[in-house]
């Protein structure tokens, strides 16, 4: 009979202890797995979000405070200059404003209005129901709008509906007239917070909403580098055009995010995953030690019968591996469910982009989870194994009889 078979039979024989260990490891392992997913999840999710836009360069102005950055001036001329660069394939701009959606049967609803020079949407909205801004159908006198799902649900709007919005001017009562928009599509806006009311329209629609007069500015510009040049060369070329610009490739944006905003999550996850691994070790080591202590007579008798120390050690190692292995496997679905619940709770934080997730599964997490558990099983078995192989046979047998 192999050491594995003996370990398996032992686990089956002492079912309550085995189940206790497996459940304990599964719960602790699930937490550990979640911490490992958290350690990189936000960064992976952020990278996915940024890379999904179809543009690999972001351009912002430098003026103003970081949280209240001023728009880029002379935007039209800058667009022309950037478009002319040999390193750049395409360029687009985004304008934003706060506005109110006028409801015939209720108070106005605050919305964020976006004007996009790219009718395909700059990658800022997804999972479109209906059409995009470049649709030619419908009344051409009404600007097309793609609106966020929560807004469509709340205001009962569907493709083909019309509604009016009025742009709000910061710090004053708005004197802007309300303009009608026709809904052409309903979409998710992953860069906006969950439940946000967002209206995206063309630059022409944005101008109309602003009373037909629009300053030559842009809140953000997006560029796509040519494959032959790559984003770094394009970033350098755009940066040379004007000194008042902040130009980043997606890679740089993600790297900055990883260095700054993400550090806290990584530190928390390292501390918590180390702690949970410690708990796994304590649980398995305690249960195995108690188990060996309960079976000292049995172990001494096996040694007296000539069963080799290495077989007894291997049996205990397999026992630890079985308990931790089965518990670790159970931890995966449990961790996934727990991660979904925790992710849902964390994503309720105000202002967080809807497309951002804290817990993201990646093969590396699974590999690390398995490595941590294997190490835990081995370390947890060291003391019980030492206890079993080093016990004095004659003395133990005598004590067993006396007791």
């Amino acid at each position: 009979m192999t050491a594995f078979a003996l370990a398996w039979r032992t686990a089956r024989r002492y079912r309550a202890r085995a189940v206790l260990a497996v459940v304990g490891v599964a719960v602790i392992g699930a937490l550990n797995f979640d911490m490992l997913m958290l350690s990189h999840g936000l960064l992976i999710s952020f990278a996915d979000l940024v890379n999904s836009t179809g543009y690999d360069i972001r351009i912002a102005g430098t003026a103003g405070l970081p949280l209240a950055r001023q728009p880029i001036d002379n935007a039209a001329a800058l667009m022309t200059q950037i478009r002319a660069l040999p390193e750049v394939a395409s360029v687009a701009m985004l304008r934003t404003a706060t506005a109110a959606a006028i409801r015939p049967d209720g108070p106005p609803e605050g919305v964020e209005l976006m004007g996009s020079s790219d009718a395909a949407g700059l990658g800022l909205w997804r999972s479109l129901t209906g059409s995009n801004l470049d649709i030619a159908e419908g009344d051409p006198s009404l600007a097309p709008a793609v609106i966020a799902r929560p807004m469509a649900d709340r205001l009962k709007l569907a493709p083909g509906s019309t509604f009016s919005i009025r742009v709000r001017l910061s710090g004053s009562l708005s004197a802007m007239p309300a303009i009608p928009l026709r809904v052409v599509g309903i979409a998710d806006f992953p860069f906006e917070s969950q439940g946000a009311f967002v209206v995206a329209t063309t630059m022409d629609g944005f101008r109309r909403a602003n009373g037909g007069v629009l300053s030559d500015q842009a809140e953000l510009m997006f560029a796509q580098s040519r494959p032959a040049s790559g984003p770094d060369a394009a970033v350098a070329a755009i940066g040379k055009l004007r000194s008042d610009l902040r130009v980043f490739s997606n890679e740089q944006v993600i790297a900055n995010f990883g260095k700054n905003a993400f550090t806290y999550f990584r530190q928390i996850s390292v501390v918590l995953s180390t702690t949970t691994a410690g708990f796994s070790f304590l649980l398995v080591a305690t249960l195995l030690t108690v188990s060996v202590n309960q079976r000292l007579g049995e172990v001494a008798a096996l040694r007296a019968l000539g069963i080799a120390r290495r077989k007894i050690a291997a049996t205990l190692l397999w026992e630890a591996a079985l308990l931790v292995g089965i518990g670790g496997l159970c931890a995966l679905p449990l961790g996934e469910v727990l991660a979904l619940v925790l992710d849902r709770i964390l994503r309720r934080m105000p202002g967080l982009p809807a497309g951002l997730h804290f817990f993201v599964f990646e093969p590396q997490s699974l590999l690390l989870h398995a490595s941590v558990l294997i190490a835990t099983a081995v370390v947890a078995a060291i003391y019980p194994v030492w206890l079993a192989v080093k016990l004095p046979i004659a003395q133990t047998l005598r004590q067993e009889v006396v007791s």
Binding site: M1, L6, R9, T10, R12, R13, Y14, G297, E298, A300, A301, L302, R303, A304, L305, G306, I307, A308, R309, K311, P392, I393, A394, L397, R398, E400, V401
Partner: protein
């Protein structure tokens, strides 16, 4: 032919209250065909002497020779190999593995000794028949009576066809009638050519041995 020979064995256990001499200058020779019973009051050193003869303990002074080899000069794994293949142990508390069936308990030391599977099956079947437990092969120890467990333990001890069977109070946990069955089993084992050394309080069992020795205060008389 001598199987095991103990010469001037002394075993001292260091204790916090002072050293305790369990066996004092004991000498014993066990030859093929011997059946020796060692009696004596509790704590007189009988089990310690048995452990020394069975290579599970080492003497403080003196020497044990097993089939001509000085046990004191052997490594731990060499002593383990002797215990596995040349000595059979029967314990007062049986010490069967509770998660294995009677069959598997008997098969375990054979597998450890490298006996081929087909031969293991044949030996195990024969041993179960020998101890009259063929019908209980698939029973766990918890499903057996005390006497049945001890019979399985005897079968396990004989699994690798040892030259010497050592038994430490083999009837200590059994009632008189069951003890009598075990004693009869020992008679058969001895008659089939295995040397036996047993320590016992059971006078009836001791009476069946060819040689009876008494230990008092660690001295073998």
């Amino acid at each position: 032919m001598t199987i095991v020979e103990a010469h001037a064995l002394t075993r001292v256990f260091p204790m916090s209250a002072g050293p305790v001499t369990a066996v004092r200058d004991a000498s014993l020779r066990v030859n093929r065909g011997d059946y020796i019973a060692i009696g004596g009051p509790s704590g007189c050193g009988k089990s310690t002497l048995l452990h020394l003869l069975g290579c599970v303990d080492t003497p403080t002074s003196g020497a044990v020779t097993f089939e001509g080899r000085d046990v004191g000069a052997l490594t731990d794994s060499e002593r383990g190999r002797i215990r596995l293949t040349r000595i059979g142990f029967v314990f007062q508390r049986f010490f069967l593995l509770p998660m294995l069936t009677a069959w598997e308990n008997i098969e375990l030391p054979q597998a450890e000794a490298g006996v081929p599977a087909a031969e293991r099956r044949e030996r195990t079947r024969a041993l179960l028949e020998y101890v009259e437990l063929s019908g209980r092969a698939d029973h766990l120890p918890s499903q057996l009576s005390g006497g049945e467990m001890q019979r399985v333990a005897v079968a396990r001890a004989l699994a690798n066809r040892p030259a010497l069977l050592l038994a430490d109070e083999p009837t200590g946990e059994l009632d008189e009638e069951t003890g009598e069955h075990i004693a009869a089993l020992f008679d058969r084992v001895h008659a089939d050519g295995t040397a036996i050394v047993l320590v016992t309080h059971n006078a009836a069992l001791a009476q069946r041995a060819k040689t009876r020795r008494i230990m008092r205060s660690g001295v073998l008389q």
